[in-house]
């Protein structure tokens, strides 16, 4: 998963302000213009919503399959919310172009929750009890997924959700919930531990450092890797949790460098990942191996923030990448770039996660000939299901049982390198660019 979406998942670091704040000192004309623009936007949204909420029922046609979704189209999670929207809509248009699900046209009923855990409850309540949608898909972030999934549970709806991977989601023990990513977020670094432990003893690091951001989506990842590597005899020489407000990590790197670890496993989000690398480069110190849980897995933003010449050799991990060979991925990437423009590397993994929810509905329908909530819940709990995210199966709490993909920057590109069945290149064990 890219750092952009993971960063939002924590609820950190997004714009609280709105453009409306700038309109306060404006004259009446500008206020009227802004009001007109808002009204136009509202009408446009209303148009989308109403067309979605009232599926066309041409005579003789099978009724539409309506899917209700609450998304953060405004507020703190809006960037990622819109990414999810693009993924959902792309899946709907793709499946409709192929005749729909069991001959039923898919209609998405998407409403804005303003990134609010209160509004998201209202939205799903309305979608289910007033709009009478057939199915629901999940919102963005663990923060919103937890209350939303409770509503779905209350009404017996299956809850396929693309972006709520925090421990709070699975500790609810909801049988109707399916997290459409390979594994819970805290297990994101396990694939790196697997890789290190797969190395012959002569190539294995003997000492390791574990700096980590004080964040529920960062420090537990480093802690889990540390537990496994320590158990395998790799000595911990430095471990440190730094606060989110620490914009300058030079002092952390200074202290870490003094311990001379072979390996650095950093539990990071985005800004702190950039700060760690920049501090290492400026201090001209590099470990033999560097793993950053997030930040480095964002092909769009990482090179620009640390310098394109400093990326090679760095490891990270994620759930989806544009070059993945998973089910339907090349078609998804082609359709996405055709629909929304831009390069494949600019696709936020949240879009792929959302699209994968739709894939699962299609597959269950194709297998069972039915597309209702009870069938979805019972069917998805057995077997393995191919998606853009890989082949997924779930435990009883809705956590997927697969593994993230280890990626490494090689030749200026971010390539999957482990496990072998997902790898597109062999891992490269060499010096980091700034180590001299």
């Amino acid at each position: 998963m890219s750092n952009r979406s993971r960063g939002r998942d924590t609820g950190r670091g997004t714009g609280r302000g709105t453009a409306g704040g700038t309109a306060r000192g404006a004259g009446r004309t500008r206020v009227r213009a802004a009001a007109a623009a808002l009204a136009a936007a509202g009408l446009a949204l209303a148009g989308c919503s109403s067309s979605a909420a009232k599926p066309s029922a041409s005579s003789g046609a099978r009724p539409a399959l309506t899917i209700g979704i609450s998304l953060s189209l405004t507020g703190d999670f809006s960037d990622s919310g819109k990414s999810a929207q693009r993924g959902y809509q792309l899946w709907a248009s793709t499946v409709n172009a192929a005749g729909g699900v069991l001959g039923r046209k898919v209609v998405l009923d998407i409403v804005d929750d303003t990134s609010s855990p209160t509004q998201v409850v209202t939205n799903y309540q309305n979608l289910i009890t007033k709009n009478h949608v057939d199915l629901v898909f999940g919102p963005f972030s663990s923060l919103l997924t937890v209350p939303a999934s409770q509503v779905a549970k209350r009404y017996g709806y299956a809850f396929l959700e693309p972006a709520g991977g925090g421990p709070a989601v699975f500790s609810q023990h909801l049988h109707n919930l399916f997290f459409v990513q390979p594994a819970p977020v805290v297990q994101q670094g396990d694939v790196f531990a697997d890789y290190i432990l797969s190395l012959p003893a002569s190539q294995r690091p003997t000492t390791a450092a574990y700096p980590a951001l004080d964040d529920p989506f960062a420090s537990p990842i480093a802690a889990e890797v540390r537990t496994r590597l320590q158990a395998a005899g790799i000595r911990t020489v430095y471990q440190q949790i730094y606060p989110a407000e620490a914009t300058d990590l030079s002092s952390v790197v200074t202290a870490m460098a003094a311990k001379k670890p072979d390996l650095v496993v950093a539990g990071t989000q985005s800004a702190d990942a950039y700060a760690l690398v920049k501090a290492m480069v400026q201090l001209k110190w590099a470990p033999k191996l560097l793993y950053l849980s997030n930040g480095a897995n964002d092909p769009l933003n990482f090179p620009g923030n640390v310098g394109a010449g400093n990326v090679n050799g760095i490891f990270s991990s994620g759930d989806w990448f544009p070059t993945a060979t998973t089910s339907g991925n090349s078609a998804f990437v082609a359709a996405y770039t055709a629909a929304y423009g831009g390069a494949a590397t600019s696709i936020d993994s949240t879009s792929a996660e959302a699209y994968s929810c739709g894939q699962l509905v299609q597959e269950v329908a194709a297998k069972t000939g039915k597309v209702d909530n009870a069938t979805l819940i019972s069917t998805l709990h057995s077997g393995s299901w191919p998606t853009l995210e890989g082949d997924l199966s779930w435990n009883s709490d809705g956590a997927a049982n697969a593994s993230y993909v280890l990626v490494q920057w090689i030749g200026g590109k971010l390539l999957p390198v482990f496990p072998a069945d997902r790898a597109q290149s062999a891992p490269v064990l060499g010096k980091l660019p700034w180590s001299g």
């Binding site: 714009g15 704040g21 700038t22 730094y242 002092s251 202290a255 201090l283 923030n305 310098g307």
Partner: protein, 292 residues
């Protein structure tokens, strides 16, 4: 020992960056007696403008300063003239907190709309370069920021101490009524003062954008540090700002390297509280009205 000295060097260089950012803050307080909560947002705005000029036109970030500074000067003067000047009431200083906070939110909102919320860094070829002196690393950009900081603060000191505008500012600060009687146009001086304080954010933004990653809401962390620095230095004292920024840099870096980064910011606040207990006006603040 090497670790300690390296941390002190890092702290001094970081302090230089913060001194540059806080100079505008302290100037605005000195002139207007306004705690400008928008200063952090102005720095981030400048960082974005500098980044855009660098990415789109290839202009070196340091050379973007003379382009961005006039734009921020006009913005700052407009904020004072349109939003702060009308607050002619006894509670104007409190209301100005709300106004400048609203300005900060407005800037953040516009930046989010235009640039989205992804982090970015200004990356000229020298952004991550450092010199090695006797085994210690000295970041080129941070050293340049220290020098730029000294230059900006020196220029501001000259402006306030040696020019007609500076005399008008000092007269307004010390006794607004008497200054007005002597022909000083207080509102105009205030607008120019706010504009000048905002313009210093141009240099600060260019440097900040090269040293740190930023996004539209980076100003929240920034403003809390800038306020701490100007309070420690003494509200309105340019010299105090430099000393306080360097102190903050060194204390934070030492604690971060030798104890834990968790206590870095807290340790600075301990120093701040200790100083304020002994000198409530800050290190170099005057007890009398009109620190400048």
């Amino acid at each position: 020992m090497h670790e300690t000295i390296q941390a002190i060097i890092l702290g001094l260089l970081t302090g230089g960056v913060y001194a540059l950012m806080a100079s505008g803050q302290t100037l605005i307080f000195g002139v207007l007696k306004v705690v400008n909560l928008a200063q952090g947002a102005l720095v981030i705005l400048a960082a974005y403008l500098s980044s855009s000029l660098f990415v789109s036109f290839g202009i070196d970030p340091f050379l973007t300063v003379p382009i961005v500074a006039p734009a921020l000067f006009l913005l700052g003067a407009a904020v004072q003239w349109c939003l702060l000047r009308p607050l002619h009431r006894s509670d104007a200083s409190q209301l100005s907190l709300l106004v400048t906070f609203a300005v900060a939110l407005g800037i953040e909102g516009v930046l989010t709309l235009v640039y989205k919320s992804d982090y970015r860094t200004i990356q000229p070829s020298y952004a991550n370069r450092s010199w090695t002196v006797a085994g210690y690393r000295i970041g080129e950009v941070r050293l340049a920021a220290c020098l730029l900081s000294l230059a900006v603060l020196g220029a501001l000191a000259l402006l306030l101490g040696r020019t007609r505008f500076g005399r008008a500012v000092r007269a307004t600060v010390q006794n607004p009524t008497a200054a007005r009687l002597l022909g000083v146009e207080g509102d105009r001086v205030a607008a120019l003062g706010y504009g000048l304080g905002a313009a210093t954010a141009a240099a600060a933004g260019a440097v900040y954008g090269m040293v740190y990653s930023f996004n539209p809401n980076s100003h929240y962390d920034l403003i809390s540090r800038l306020l701490s620095i100007v309070v420690l230095g003494g509200l309105g004292s340019l010299g105090g700002t430099v000393v306080a920024a360097l102190a903050m840099g060194v204390v934070s870096a030492l604690v971060g390297a030798l104890i834990s980064p968790v206590w870095s910011d807290f340790s600075f606040f301990v120093v701040l509280l200790a100083v304020l207990l002994v000198r409530p006006q800050g290190l170099f603040g005057a007890r009398l009205r009109g620190a400048l």
